[in-house]
Assembly symmetry: C2
Homo-oligomer: 365 residues x 2
């Protein structure tokens, strides 16, 4: 591949993959609630966004163009691992990649988000969501994962958007505050909703499996906007598909993380998807989240990303508060409650990593 | 005043105000948890938005221009009472009116929301939030309230935005998904935040008191976006100001409602503001909300506004589910969990009112 150049930052690159095994990775051990030496930490959206070395490489092309360049995606994925010393890498990609790859007509506009030329509106749109053919449709993703598996000394997290969240973009045509078209379709036309969910499950399952087969060591399913639903609507119309997707990855031998924002009322159901880890945003304290998930899954979170825009003493206090609310439960991964905000100072994220590693406690179960 | 013309819809107008007293108003009785004959119902944003008779009258001027026309605001406030037979009217106005009225430089753009020409950024901006002088700054609001007091047979709800929510617009310069500038200011500069909250409390308290003195029978404080905060941040940096505002209205003799969306984790604190009623959005079941608020306040909510875009059988089922989750607690007002969505069919809202009146139960305490 040849594009991974050394920088003057500490390099995490290595030719050995041995070190990413569950026994030596605090991240993987925490996913399974096993004893390990330090509280692991990584950041959603750590790859890209706020990093100057990312902005320098990225240029002004669409993010989908950058993702389709496997060497560039590899480098962007590695940048935060080098700079921060995080315990996991997450592939530089986007939840819209699989539906883009099957030709649904997706663009991702800077400052806006996903924009759909022809939104999903009726049964005739189902055929625009044909099955994903990994080798043909997303060869660049698989190449990036293979590159990374050879380079990284920390586990690589592959990911996908969960069907509700992806569907919301397809139906609304872009980001929404009300989700009114999505909910209208769900409530008014459950048959079409089911057919749409089935198509998206097929695509998502294929996409996740392909990432693990290429070398991903963990998977995160982003149901970012599920928290906009009532618990009853989530349970009836969304939860079965999330559960189906998790079940499809049962035999892949990697831990699964389910995450969304504003999902305080859904945490008990998230814990029943079969995932080993449930993401928690800053609206629910970790100790409360532990109660709601029944103590049977690991937790990931939950610093408010906006806190990272404050001066270090404030960030340090809030980081310590999050650690304290976990206590010393080994089933815990430090993270933000949502993605890194673009204006975040990378130096603050580095300080958080160092603080979590120095002060976090994780007892054996 | 002379603009209130009869229509062929059932008219709620009357020259008598006697019927809006607590003893005969199901809405006021429910606010206080007192026995009454039927479950009261009204809809946030019932005035305006989805009503064709509203769209016909409104024209294309800024909504702030429509609000500043007392006769027009009176008529728009009455329209949903006539059409739906709701148990309360809410003044046609906007949470940005008081800061607009003191000259902060606010516009409300169709399809966008509040837009601030020069956002709040430092201590020099505090003087742009001078005290509100009701007779000079918002004479049109007081005139509309007086008109309505003479016309309505149901209670009129006056309202204001809570300081956090109003501040978020002033600081961000418009609607936001991340609240990152607002939170940055809160966390990084608590002194300036306190000074800003104090100014907004002064304005809000004057505004609410003026509405009651002009004839409003209840007050709602919209802390619409408080749910974006962690419980700890809300408790420390927002709750004291909400409590202060509610306390300032203690001697006005009207019930107070506190409402926000996504506030599941804040309900216990909302119940400690001193308000008689706490609003609940669709993310938390009413029976769970009753537990979180300790059973000491009345509740208002909590149908998902997006459900109202579905066919009637779906809406009816969901409406019955909400009623069932209340049981027959007399401290309950049926409402949506947030404002009526613009594409809502008014016929559906009318059917909801009729169903709630026909099937809702409210036992004496």
């Amino acid at each position: 591949m040849g594009v991974i150049e050394n920088t003057n930052l500490n390099s995490p690159t290595s030719t050995s993959q041995q070190t990413s095994s569950a026994t030596s990775s605090p991240f993987l051990a925490a996913c399974y609630g096993q004893a390990h030496e330090r509280v692991p930490v990584w950041f959603m959206r750590q790859a890209g966004r706020s990093l100057p070395e990312y902005r320098m490489m990225r240029g002004t092309d669409s993010i989908l163009t950058a993702i389709a360049d496997a060497d560039l995606a590899t480098e962007i994925t590695l940048q935060p691992v080098r700079r921060y010393g995080v315990d996991a890498a997450i592939l530089f990609s986007d939840i819209m990649v699989p539906v883009y790859a099957v030709g649904f007509g997706v663009d991702i506009q800077a400052g806006v988000g996903p924009v759909i030329a022809q939104p999903f509106s009726d049964a005739s749109d189902l055929e625009r969501l044909r099955p994903l053919e990994p080798e043909e449709d997303i060869a660049y993703v698989l190449e990036a994962v293979k590159n990374l598996q050879a380079e990284l000394v920390v586990p690589l997290i592959g990911f996908a958007g969960a069907p509700f969240t992806v569907a919301s973009y397809l139906i609304e045509g872009g980001p929404t505050k009300t989700f009114q078209k999505t909910k209208s379709l769900m409530f008014a036309n459950p048959e079409l909703w089911t057919a749409l969910m089935d198509r998206l499950c097929d695509i998502t399952e294929t996409f996740l499996k392909a990432q693990v087969e290429a070398g991903a060591s963990a998977l995160q399913l982003f149901d970012s906007w599920a928290g906009t639903l009532s618990p009853a609507a989530y349970e009836q119309l969304v939860f079965p598909y999330t559960k189906r997707i998790i079940a499809s990855t049962d035999n892949l031998g990697v831990p699964r993380i389910c995450h969304g924002v504003g999902t305080g009322e859904l945490l008990a159901l998230f814990a029943q998807t079969g995932a080993e880890v449930v993401g928690v945003d800053w609206r629910v304290r970790l100790d409360e989240a532990r109660l709601r998930t029944g103590g049977k899954v690991s937790l990931q979170g939950n610093l408010d990303p906006a806190v990272c825009l404050a001066p270090w003493p404030v960030v340090a206090e809030q980081t310590r508060k999050v650690l304290a609310e976990n206590g010393s439960n080994p089933g815990y991964i430090f993270n933000l409650g949502h993605g890194v905000l673009p204006p975040t100072d990378p130096a603050i994220l580095k300080q958080i990593v160092d603080l979590v590693h120095a002060e976090g406690h994780c007892d054996a179960n």
